[in-house]
């Protein structure tokens, strides 16, 4: 045991020795606050090579980030954000434009990485993520089903698989009440071509597309594990790995786990495809993750922070962590696992429409949709109640007068 411990210690030392690949010696204290998933771990580990850097991967970052960036001086110089979590920082003006820094230190960045608001670079994206179709190729081949491209085909395929009785439940879904279920509704509703708001921010979900969306979600649940309202992406991923489901609309960042021999009993059998289309377009939304730099920091700190961040997003880092995410960084080799995201984007999926209103709507949907799926309310009442819940919060937030 002790020997193993020592060995482990020596190994980690050796790794540090080799990968010390930062292009400058950082002497300004820099701290970052971000979510805690694998890609952030990889990027912040690479940033740490520059020295004098502390990374905080925190599951409460949504709560902490706006407050910590509003403090003067800001408690963190680098923030890890996504479409949605950038909104409060942008609204409160606590992050700075990065154009001059990009010009100075951003030689390695691709144009696709620059998140621009009104022409100003406000964030640097590092990866994209989207929910797309994953399916068991072996089952589909055995039953002679072609890969579904629309949701009607998904239902047909599911019915065939159920009839054949090969797996317990044909479809897996991240339908856990709250954020996950809200996201499912948003994906499907945008796929149906729906609009969430009128110009004065009042809700417009109480319409045909809304009903069609609820209807489709309910049809899908008929083929799912009856405990779908508690299943999040980890649970669906596990169901896949244990061979209990045949297809699911799952996050691209989960794709790698299907082929992990330590966990999965279906290595090599799960294939990726674009998200199926609903009435109008692919029923999925595109997400990006990236970094922002605090406004309430000195220019010197901001410069150091940006250089440190750039050293986290290098081709070398991507090479070492190629299958962790669908990277936007140079040097990424899109493998078979990235197919799903690209196909989804090409099928017209929209970027997640992040805004203050959308945040409120997402919450209202996440808490409200379940009532229709459990049969407590009919579709019209459900939509009306969700719209009412949204209106109450939007009025309280001052978005609707």
């Amino acid at each position: 045991m002790l020997k193993k411990l020592l060995l482990a210690g020596a190994m980690s030392l050796a790794v540090t020795g080799v990968a010390a690949a930062c292009d400058f010696e950082n002497t300004v204290p820099v701290k970052s606050l971000s979510a805690g998933f694998e890609a952030w771990k990889a990027v912040t580990d690479a940033m740490a090579e520059c020295g004098d850097f502390e990374a905080e991967l925190d599951q409460e970052f949504r709560t902490k980030q706006p407050a910590a960036f509003a403090a003067n001086p800001s408690l963190y110089q680098i923030g890890g954000v996504a479409n949605g979590t950038m909104v409060p920082l942008l609204n409160e003006g606590t992050i700075r434009p990065l154009d001059d820094l990009v010009e100075k230190y951003g030689q390695n960045l691709t144009p696709n990485q620059l998140i621009k608001i009104d022409g100003q670079v406000m964030a640097i994206a590092m990866m994209v993520n989207a929910q797309h179709l994953m399916y068991r190729e072996d089952i589909f081949n055995d039953l002679g089903i072609s890969v579904p491209t629309t949701y009607d085909e998904v239902l047909e395929a599911a019915a065939k698989i159920k009839e054949a009785g090969i797996v317990e439940y044909p479809i897996g879904g991240t339908f856990k009440t709250g954020w996950n279920l809200g996201e499912e509704f948003i994906n499907m509703y945008l796929g149906m071509g729906g609009q969430f708001f009128a110009d004065d921010n009042t809700p417009t979900i109480d319409n045909e597309q809304g009903v069609a969306t609820l209807d489709m979600l309910k049809k899908l649940t008929a083929f799912m594990d009856p405990e779908y309202l508690v299943s999040d992406s980890t649970y669906v991923q596990q169901q896949f790995q244990q061979g209990k489901i045949a297809m699911a609309n799952l996050w691209a960042s989960r794709a790698g786990a299907m082929d992990d021999p330590n966990e999965s009993q279906v290595v090599g059998k799960v294939k990726m495809a674009g998200a199926p289309k609903a009435a109008e377009r692919a029923a999925s939304t595109l997400w990006w993750d990236g970094i922002v730099i605090a406004k309430n920091a000195s220019d010197e700190e901001a410069e150091a922070a940006f250089r440190v961040a750039m050293n986290g997003m290098t081709p070398a880092m991507v090479e070492a962590n190629n299958d962790v995410a669908v990277w936007l960084i140079q040097g990424y080799e899109p493998g078979p696992l990235a197919v799903g995201v690209v196909e989804t984007a090409q099928a017209g999926a929209l970027p997640y429409p992040a805004s203050s209103q959308m945040g409120l709507m997402h919450t209202a949907l996440g808490n409200g949709v379940a009532d229709y799926l459990t049969g407590a309310k009919d579709a019209e009442t459900t939509l009306k109640d969700i719209a009412a819940a949204y209106t109450t919060s939007a009025k309280e937030a001052g978005l609707i007068q």
């Binding site: 709560t63 621009k116 992040a354 997402h362 309280e396 978005l399």
Partner: protein, 341 residues
């Protein structure tokens, strides 16, 4: 004891409670009558995000807050009176549902749904915790001295382990094809999904709470049993009292103050049930009052939180707890009066 000495003894404790409990409480109370809103403006914004093969740029009108000269969002504080309370209670819908005697409609309103669950949860688990705790205490007290130590040790385990971990460990036994569900399916010979409908989750949550708290009741009652007056017991035996009568007329009255103590603690703790909702992810079917407050306070992706409604809901929760505690508090008051006379 002189007032000054008393103040010196109690001072530090009072200071801490005032600073960290009373002050936030007052601010919560105030916030429930006000809303703080940013001043918004509507602007055209072009946003470019990653796409394949090239970026997608969208121009749309956005409602965004106005920044002041100091770089902070300009906000306006507005007195709204009881509006936040109305938003939580939704009295019109509630009354309409009540007058139509349609309880299902009443239970589609978050607050009433949460209140229904919280009250059921509290009132069902209370007798169970006391009963199970008492039963274990009496059984252990009757067991031979040799095995008492290990039994007390094992019995205390559910109480000491971290609540989050305890709830998860029970959840793992039941979720999906967890081994307990598999066992039940084999035993009852039918397909069971414990997390697919409300009442099974509710049962599981109550089971977890009793499992977690009964050991505390047990150890308190067990300590109480050690001080039962043996002479009284023996004279009861001589009077020919049966075992049941001895329990009923000697032991339970002796333990009465403890039963009240446990009830008090349990009422307070279970009225703010929260860990179970998160641990068993029961939000789709069952929510509790504290969860409602917590949910309103948790910022969404865009950083919105409904502080005013959360404050109102918190104050309503508090009122509920005080109402539940009044009978027990009145008894304490009488004891206090009696003690002084």
């Amino acid at each position: 004891m002189k007032y000054k000495t008393f103040a010196a003894f109690v001072g530090p404790s009072i200071f801490l409670m005032l600073l960290f409990i009373a002050a936030p409480l007052v601010s919560v109370f105030m916030q429930s009558f006000y809303v703080t809103q940013p001043i918004f403006e509507t602007v055209e914004v072009e946003t470019c995000t990653p796409g394949f093969p090239t970026q997608t740029c969208v121009t749309e009108t956005k409602t965004q807050p106005v920044l002041g000269d100091d770089g902070r969002v300009v906000t306006a504080v507005r007195y709204v009176g009881l509006e936040s309370y109305r938003n939580v209670l939704e009295p019109e819908r509630a009354l309409a549902a009540l007058s139509a005697l349609n309880f299902n409609a009443l239970l589609t309103i978050d607050f009433w749904k949460a209140l229904r669950f919280t009250l059921t949860f509290t009132l069902v688990t209370l007798p169970l915790v006391i009963g199970v705790g008492l039963a274990i205490a009496i059984a252990v007290n009757n067991a031979s001295r040799l095995i008492r130590g290990p039994i007390i040790f094992v019995s205390l385990l559910p109480f000491i382990i971290t609540p989050v971990i305890g709830a998860l460990s029970i959840r793992w036994l039941f979720i999906g094809d967890g081994i307990m569900t598999a066992f039940l399916e084999w035993w009852l010979n039918q397909d069971i999904a414990m997390f697919a409908q409300g009442w099974t989750i509710e049962l599981l949550m109550m089971f977890y709470r009793v499992w977690h708290v009964a050991p505390f009741a047990f150890v308190v009652f067990y300590a109480g049993l050690q001080t039962v007056n043996q002479d009284t017991l023996e004279s009861a035996v001589i009077d020919g009292a049966s075992r049941w009568e001895r329990l009923r007329f000697v032991i339970i009255p002796h333990l009465m103050p403890l039963i009240i103590f446990i009830s008090l603690i349990h009422l307070m703790d279970s009225y703010r049930v929260f860990e179970e909702i998160v641990g068993f992810s029961s939000q789709a079917y069952r929510i509790s009052l504290q969860w409602l407050t917590y949910d309103l306070l948790t910022p969404d992706d865009s950083g919105n939180r409904s502080i005013s409604r959360a404050s109102a809901s918190a104050m309503l929760t508090m009122v509920g707890i005080i109402v539940l505690l009044v009978p027990l508090l009145r008894r304490t008051w009488r004891d206090h009066r009696g003690g002084r006379l």
